[in-house]
Symmetry: C2
Subunit: 238 residues, 2 copies
């Protein structure tokens, strides 16, 4: 057997693992994460409950894996959108598409935290990867031709609307960010870019989470248009 090749048993093993996860996602989509039941998954798969313990150490272990997969999936989606070269609007569209594809997956990452539960440690690494991609796109968006009339890297409307004279002077928060950039890792982004990346992140999650939670239903307007308008505000109309 060649090195690195998987034995039939291992192949089968990972297939079953994948099937268990697939059913778990179905259950989460139907009843939320709190309604996830090992026995119900086993029943779905036509096997007995204890059989699942061959594949996962327990319920918590399975959920942890799902959380990890959700983070991974978002990080990959972000990376792909960034590489596609459609800039910040493209990244925003990708995020919304990812969220709408499976709202409960979104909520597993960004939704109500369960007071006791702690996300697995390696998710913080993936979270940093996500922020790094976002910083890449925000930095690149700065150097785009046609952006010369807005303050470079500035958050539109952050500080410079009232006294529009000194658009180049950083606001208080940017100064704070310059000294508290642990989350940015070793990314060389300047403070205004850091600040903008944070704004993109929080604002998009603002519209998205309210939309996904159904707070716009019955309000009358089209959620997509609100999202697009918010993205437009972030890119300064470009």
């Amino acid at each position: 057997m060649a090195a690195g090749a998987v034995s039939p048993r291992e192949r089968y093993r990972s297939q079953v693992r994948a099937e268990i996860k697939a059913r778990a996602w179905e259950q989460i989509a139907t009843a939320g994460a709190s309604g996830l039941s090992l026995n119900a998954i086993a029943k779905d798969l036509g096997m007995s409950g204890p059989a699942l313990y061959r594949y996962f150490a327990g319920r918590d272990d399975l959920i942890t894996e799902l959380v990890r997969d959700a983070y991974r999936s978002l990080a990959d989606t972000f990376r792909a959108a960034a590489d596609a070269g459609s800039g910040l609007p493209g990244l925003a569209r990708a995020l919304r598409g990812w969220a709408l594809a499976d709202p409960q997956r979104y909520f597993l990452v960004y939704g109500t935290p369960v007071p006791g539960y702690r996300a697995p440690d390696d998710t913080t690494a993936i979270a940093q990867e996500i922020m790094a991609t976002l910083l890449d796109v925000c930095a690149a968006d700065d150097d785009v031709p046609g952006a010369d009339d807005a303050a470079e890297g500035d958050v539109p409307g952050a500080d410079d609307t009232a006294d529009a004279k000194d658009t180049a002077s950083p606001d208080a928060f940017e100064t704070h960010l310059a000294e508290h950039r642990r989350w940015a890792g070793d990314h060389p982004a300047a403070p205004p870019v850091l600040r903008r990346a944070l704004a993109v992140w929080t604002r998009l999650h603002g519209v998205l989470s309210l939309e996904l939670a159904g707070h716009f239903t019955g309000m009358g307007f089209d959620p997509e248009l609100l999202f697009d308008a918010e993205v437009k505000g972030l890119t300064g109309g470009r």
Copy 2:
């Protein structure tokens, strides 16, 4: 007995009801809404489980009541902040204070929706009340002295940053809003104000929900400063 006066029995009844709810909130704060248990509440209160059925029709009924109270509490907080006359920044501070005081209460309203559950009908009325207060403040913020150099009621950085010439022309979303303002009830706010109120709502929830869910912990910066910066962006630096 004077008309409208409450009998001792009724008085006692509402006291116990209040105590049950108080324990329920404690439980939610500790274990989340999904961990709320009638029997555990009864135990906390030193009475047997079935006794609670004298006060609430069942678990769902109790949760519904809590959701209602949470909405009511936020609406009152908003109203008080608006009446205090500290404008949009004051309203934003009030929202953050309310959320931080009991994160799980915030999540009961704005957090991950339970796929099956539908909020009681009268909460939509309270939700509209909240939006009305927000619209009031946004409209008043428009007429404040010193706001003459920014486009009135405009969302800073929404549309007019790139081509700053025609700041008075409404963007596409504002036109859409002008025709889809069901959520605003009979509030006389102009489209730019509507648009700004939505931006305030979504952006504040963006920063807040991420902060409350713990997504800023370990990133290094101070969440409050990010929140303040976002508020500043919303008011155009005023």
